[in-house]
């Protein structure tokens, strides 16, 4: 037997927010009489950590400690609209809504603090739960005291709402796909290198190492970013070499109905993962953040496919790259066919080979 090592790379991009936009998120915030902050937003936390991230954004924006924040996304009676947790929008879009709501709250706190301190609100700032006069921090009032004054002296509820909605980008020309405005929020970028070992007798591909680079814009919480990247890497590994709802696709036979016959990656499939973070801030995300949750499983499959080619000299372009597909490719040792200046790979998979004239892929010669 021979085990062959190989390396391959890929670079990708991914948009934030629903394609073509038009996906609102809203938030409202109220302040308790002791200055503690209640945030109401409709973003489901599916494990991505949006409760945490949005709480951090509120704490940062107002200028109070993180543990002053209570975050409630529990129901539609108290929380306003959020289109949902998908399209990598929970930080970028929904996080922007809570940032805007927090800015309103901050304005109200500064306004009331200004009255109490007899200083113009524009000369005040909030640091660690205290409102300070800029340049004269000995003149100050604690946020809890501001909240108490609002409640008991001014008869005011300190509250703020925020909404983020980017205009729907219409397709103005269905022939060309031209749109009338950017159909996305920020675009995030990533690159990945895969190292594999391929057993040329059994066809088994083991991914031994993934080196990944992500431009995250700004890591609101670096640990949570790592969690997204690592979780995505293993899902990308699943896409690349393990998972398939239809092992005999396009046939629907022999589907796996249990763990063990549906091959989700497990602990022992885990490769070494090295991650490089870049923070090129986005122009309009909260604190420069981008949305990288979804793209985190997009770069590994092509990097793995290229690494398998590097290892054993065959391209497997049907996913997942199963042992059987590797063995079949090794057996076929398929080279691209040459037709003048054209190199044709995978001709046997093409619609031209399978369909009976109903559709074709015709390439200009």
């Amino acid at each position: 037997m021979a085990v062959h090592k190989g390396r391959g790379i890929a670079a990708i991009e991914y948009p934030t927010g629903m394609n073509q936009n038009g996906d609102p998120s809203q938030a409202w915030i109220k302040v308790k009489p002791d200055g503690r902050i209640d945030v109401f937003a409709g973003t489901s936390d599916i494990g991505n950590g949006s409760k945490t991230i949005q709480s951090q954004i509120v704490a940062e924006t107002i200028g109070v400690p993180y543990d002053w924040i209570t975050y409630d996304n529990s129901n539609t009676d108290s929380s306003p609209v959020c289109t949902g947790t998908f399209a990598s929008r929970a930080t970028f879009v929904a996080g922007k809504a809570v940032e805007k709501a927090a800015e309103r709250v901050k304005e109200r706190i500064l306004d009331i603090a200004g009255k109490e301190l007899e200083i113009d609100p524009s000369d005040l700032e909030i640091v660690d739960g205290e409102v300070l006069a800029k340049g004269a921090p000995q003149k100050k009032i604690a946020v809890p005291d501001v909240a108490a004054a609002a409640t008991w002296t001014y008869g005011e509820l300190i509250t703020g709402t925020g909404a983020q909605l980017k205009d729907f980008a219409s397709i103005v020309d269905p022939e060309t796909g031209e749109v009338d405005s950017p159909p996305h929020s920020a675009i995030s970028y990533a690159a990945c290198a895969a190292e594999v070992e391929v057993d040329d007798e059994t066809g088994v591909v083991r991914v031994t190492r993934l080196v990944q680079v992500y431009d995250v814009g700004r890591a609101i919480n670096p640990t949570l970013v790592e969690g997204q990247i690592e979780g995505g890497a293993v899902q990308g590994l699943g896409l690349g070499v393990l998972e398939n709802c239809y092992p005999y696709y396009p046939s629907a036979e022999h589907r796996g109905g249990q763990f063990g016959s549906y091959l989700a990656p497990g602990f022992e499939d885990l490769p070494q993962i090295d991650t490089i973070i870049i923070e090129n801030p986005s122009a309009d995300g909260p604190y420069g953040a981008k949305g990288i949750g979804e793209m985190a499983n997009n770069a590994q499959p092509p990097a793995i496919a290229s690494a398998v080619y590097d290892a054993v000299g065959v391209w497997v372009t049907e996913l997942p790259i199963t042992p059987e597909r590797v063995l079949r490719a090794l057996e076929a040792k398929a080279e691209p066919t040459r037709n003048g200046k054209t190199f044709v790979f995978d001709a046997e998979l093409s619609v031209n080979a399978v369909a009976q004239g109903g559709i074709a892929f015709e390439v200009p010669a």
Partner: protein, 265 residues
């Protein structure tokens, strides 16, 4: 369903045998790893369930060169045989995961029917290669017979134990693929006896584990043995792999097992 089910918890092997009777309408629950999901999913509604967890069948006896495994022995306990019967220990540790191996039993592994969408019965491989004797009871009373014969008529019988002689050497090779609650795509077990005989068996096949007699006959020439093995088995497509894939890799595994046996000798 549970209200209507008679559930028995024998506290000795004899009691288990008595409760089992002629085996009609009895569902045997060893570790539960196979039977319980069938009940939960509504596919199995036992009229009489015999739960073996307290029947004292979880024995592992080594007497001189003879090893006897009680049917209720948890698969994980076979790890203790790593020195004496490497292939069996290795195969056992390849079954599912630690917690399942603590619950799953030798008897369940040998006796369960075909899997829903992947092969079962990994231990059949090494135990066939070891030419183990199976002691069981059924409608015709107690009998002891080679495991190979028992597997063909295991439905309706209660396995009590399996016995085999320690080999001079043994080896195990499997397709090492995905690792969540792994089922074995294909595996080959090999034994070299004290008298120099080579025995081979495979699992991951359609049906149940099979002795590779043609391959054994050609054991001195691993290339030929590998090719011959294909004639010994019946292979199928399932969620894990196709018959085509298994046909291609069975010779590879036979080759690897024979190579390892050679090294051990």
């Amino acid at each position: 369903m549970t209200q209507a089910t008679e559930v028995l918890f024998p506290t000795s092997a004899d009691e288990a045998v008595a409760h089992f009777g002629d085996g009609s309408d009895v569902t045997v629950v060893g570790g539960g790893t196979i039977v319980m999901p069938e009940i939960t999913y509504g596919r199995l509604a036992p009229t009489k369930a015999l739960v073996l967890s307290r029947a004292g069948l979880d024995t592992l006896d080594v007497a001189g060169t003879t090893v006897t495994l009680g049917a209720g022995l948890p698969v994980e306990r076979l790890a203790a045989l790593a020195q004496d019967v490497k292939a069996l220990a290795q195969c056992a540790l390849n079954v599912a995961d630690y917690e399942i191996r603590l619950q799953a039993t030798v008897g369940g592994n040998l006796c369960a029917g075909e899997g829903r969408d992947a092969p079962r019965g990994d231990l059949q491989g090494p135990l066939l290669a070891l030419d183990a004797q199976a002691r069981s009871v059924g409608a015709d009373g107690e009998s002891t017979e080679p495991l190979e014969g028992f597997l063909g008529r295991r439905a309706g019988r209660l396995l009590l134990d399996v016995t085999f002689e320690k080999p001079a050497a043994s080896a195990f090779a499997a397709i090492d693929y995905a690792h969540t609650h792994e089922y074995t795509v294909l595996a080959v077990s090999g034994v070299r006896t004290a008298t120099g005989e080579t025995r081979l068996a495979a699992t991951g096949l359609a049906g149940f584990g099979t002795r590779l007699r043609s391959a054994e006959a050609a054991a001195s020439d691993p290339e030929r043995a590998g090719a011959a093995a294909v004639a010994d088995v019946s292979l199928g497509d399932d969620a894990l792999a196709s018959a085509w894939y298994r046909e291609r890799t069975l010779p590879v595994l036979v080759h690897r097992v024979l190579g390892e046996l050679e090294e051990a000798a």
